[in-house]
């Protein structure tokens, strides 16, 4: 049974699909998901192809300090396992994205595209054993903030 309210959302989505194009579709879909339920990194928020691109970027942009196996160095903290989860638990994918975009790579922060930063976030999620899903992690900073990083599967 549809309520008048959900009918209105569906109608709005339909209008967006017809008139707004792909960008709006992604936005509305994301927004409705976010409204429906706060997601966590256990919900398959990135996909394998995106993480694979993120890995390539990581090797090129990050591994000189954080090392190819993400184990870190005296110059840079590890990005996998307990050091990663303790730093980021109870924060959001948006916090991680913003931190990377504003401070990394250290010598030239912000030099990558937002797509590249999101791909690196996807790779870090994969490297920390959070499951892949069917869709790519969004580039929308506001939507990223709705994805919680939590330690254990809720």
């Amino acid at each position: 049974m549809q309520t008048p309210w959900t009918r209105r959302i569906v109608a709005a989505a339909a209008v967006a699909i017809v008139f707004g194009g792909a960008w709006d579709v992604a936005r509305v879909r994301g927004a409705t998901q976010a409204d429906a339920k706060a997601r966590t990194v256990w919900d398959g928020v990135y996909n394998q192809a995106q993480a694979a691109r993120g890995k390539e970027r990581y090797v090129k942009e990050c591994s000189s300090c954080h090392l190819a196996d993400l184990s870190g160095s005296d110059q840079a903290p590890p990005l996998s396992g307990e050091p990663f989860i303790i730093q980021w638990e109870n924060r959001t994918a948006g916090d991680l994205f913003t931190s990377l975009r504003t401070t990394m790579p250290q010598g030239t922060p912000g030099q990558l595209t937002s797509q590249a930063y999101v791909e690196i976030v996807a790779y870090l999620l994969q490297a920390n054993a959070f499951p892949a899903g069917s869709e790519e992690l969004t580039r929308d900073a506001d939507l990223l903030k709705t994805i919680q990083i939590v330690r254990g599967k809720p």
Binding site: S71, G72, D74, P83, Q87, S99, G107, T108, P109
Partner: protein
């Protein structure tokens, strides 16, 4: 043509060719031990000026009365990466290493490029763009320590490689970010990147300046069975890590001693290391005989240090009160004075910004405060943060005021330390969650620049929102130069801290400012740029978010007085 005529033409031609060649290749006089001991006031031959590392220039053409007229003479863009450049100058040529290991030789008066050397790392581009602090010069060579743990000797006239030697295995994490210093024809260097568990350890080495041959190697970790070996308890040799030397040392030619300081043991905490022993020779200053590398004495400032509070920083050699002393300040913000003949403790003054330990000002003995020794997986609230009250921004000394000029940063952190697996090739520091915050006493002004006498009295201090972000430079003109993260470069009166000149750069002032002279004109050179560990990145970006700097761009800016009123640029 008759024979005598032909001979004359030949002679003239040869003479002309010689003149042209002479004009193209600068007359180069070899750098001698005597020059290093008694340098010309216009040269800057060590990373902090001289072997004493005072960061002080004897030049006084730029002084209190005219510094307000200082203007840009030239600037030069450097390579991208973590900027913490420490240029040197010899006979009118400025040599500077960019992050990653590109060396530029620039005409000190005009900024013209004379030659460039670009270091390439074999295979993986490990740590390309990481910081290089300092170069050294001796005979006819400039010496570069590289990110892949090599030492490269360049012909000072041409930049051509004379020798290039491997010192440690970069695949095991070994690296250099600190330049070498010269002592009696030897290139002395300290390794870093020693946080991994291998049998190879951090070490100070000497190489023959002429040939690159390694003459000695002094490991800075006491292994089982060696003197001090019991200070690591029963930790196996392989798992004794750290003592990285990411800051260059000092040299006293009269005592003929090298002074080099080490950073903490790794992993950072006692619990993760598996010993609450002193862990020699971590967080110590070592006095070495340059002929043999023998440790003549050592002084450990914080035995068994357990939360990344480095004392690795510059050793400033000052004769004060009839004593030959070394003054140091590390992340805890304690000014230490030790006797450089014996290593004996003389005095300590705590700035009062750390909440970790108490230091007895009479004996130098430190006692950890209650609950300030971290327990694994438990959050600890500590001041300062890993950024330190003081870090690589070296202090400078002024003989005029007999005081140090010290760039500091006022932060704290909530931190959780983690264990580190004891496996070969593993290791690391054991950092968990870190959240920086403004030091409660800062009132949001996290930048502090202070003048402190050799006996520990504060002469004056400046607090501001932006972090001070360069080493200090003192001059005989009664000035101290320092720059900040918010792109300002300042000149203060050493006596009272009055601001006498200020300009704003394209990006953060960042690195080691120097002064030199060419043909009677004094210059002030200030590196500006980005990167530089948490002090220069996350801390200002997150704690002073309204201050902005560009995302990239490293350069060196060189200032001088107008040559004559007519030569001054028009508005």
């Amino acid at each position: 043509m008759r024979k005598p005529m032909r001979l004359l033409v030949t002679i003239v031609a040869v003479a002309l060719l010689g003149l042209i060649a002479g004009a193209q290749t600068r007359q180069f006089r070899s750098v001698t031990d005597e020059m290093l001991r008694n340098p010309s006031a216009g040269d800057w031959l060590y990373w902090r000026g001289t072997g004493q590392s005072q960061g002080y220039s004897r030049l006084d053409q730029i002084n209190r009365s005219n510094v307000g007229q200082l203007q840009l003479a030239w600037a030069w863009e450097m390579e991208a990466g973590n900027q913490q450049a420490a240029p040197i100058v010899y006979d009118g040529v400025l040599y500077v290493a960019s992050p990653g290991g590109t060396v530029d030789a620039l005409d000190g008066a005009t900024g013209d490029l004379l030659w460039q050397y670009r270091h390439e790392v074999e295979g993986e581009a490990r740590r390309a763009g990481s910081a290089i602090r300092g170069l050294s010069i001796y005979d006819d060579k400039v010496f570069l320590n590289t990110v892949d743990a090599r030492i490269v000797a360049l012909d000072a006239r041409t930049g051509k490689v004379v020798w290039n030697v491997a010192v440690a295995d970069p695949k095991k994490g070994f690296s250099y970010s600190a330049g070498s210093i010269i002592a009696r024809g030897k290139v002395i260097s300290g390794l870093q990147g020693c946080a991994r568990f291998y049998d190879d350890k951090c070490a100070i080495t000497a190489h023959d300046a002429k040939t690159g041959k390694e003459l000695w190697r002094t490991v800075t970790i006491a292994r089982p069975g060696e003197p001090g070996g019991d200070t690591w308890g029963d930790v196996a040799s392989m798992f004794r890590a750290g003592t990285d030397m990411w800051i260059p040392g000092s040299y006293d030619p009269d005592l003929n001693l090298i002074f080099w300081s080490t950073s903490q043991a790794k992993p950072w905490t006692r619990e993760a290391r598996g010993t609450d022993g002193d862990a020699l020779y971590s967080n110590s200053t070592l006095a070495l005989d340059p002929e043999t590398g023998k440790i003549v004495w050592y002084h450990q400032f914080v035995p068994g240090e357990t939360q990344d509070m480095d004392e690795v920083f510059e050793s400033v050699l000052v004769d004060a009160g009839g004593r030959s002393s070394i003054f140091k300040m590390g992340k805890l913000g304690i000014l230490w004075e030790i006797d450089r003949r014996t290593g004996n403790f003389v005095h300590a003054t705590d700035l009062g910004y750390q909440n970790i330990l108490r230091v007895d000002p009479k004996t130098g003995k430190v006692t950890y405060s209650r609950d300030m020794i971290p327990k694994l997986n438990q959050e600890l609230d500590m001041c300062p943060s890993f950024g330190g009250v003081k870090s690589w921004r070296a202090m400078a000394y002024s003989p005029e005021t007999q005081a140090f000029y010290i760039p500091t940063q006022l932060t704290c952190q909530k931190i959780t330390f983690l264990d580190v697996k004891k496996v070969e090739g593993g290791g690391g520091v054991g950092q968990g969650r870190r959240d920086n915050y403004q030091h409660p006493v800062s009132g949001g002004e996290i930048g502090e620049f202070l003048a402190m006498s050799t006996s520990g009295e504060i002469l004056w201090k400046k607090r501001q929102r932006a972090s001070f972000n360069t080493a200090a430079l003192t001059t005989a003109g009664g000035l101290v130069f320092v720059g900040d993260w918010n792109r300002y470069i300042n000149a203060y009166d050493v006596k009272n801290g009055n601001l006498l000149w200020q300009t704003r750069a394209a990006t953060s002032a960042q690195g080691f400012p120097i002064s030199y002279a060419v043909r009677g004109r004094q210059y002030i050179a200030v590196p500006v740029g980005v990167g530089a560990a948490s002090w220069g990145t996350e801390i200002p970006i997150k704690l002073t978010p309204e201050l902005k700097r560009p995302n990239s761009g490293n350069s060196i800016m060189v200032f001088a007085l107008p040559q004559s009123p007519a030569a001054a640029p028009r508005r």
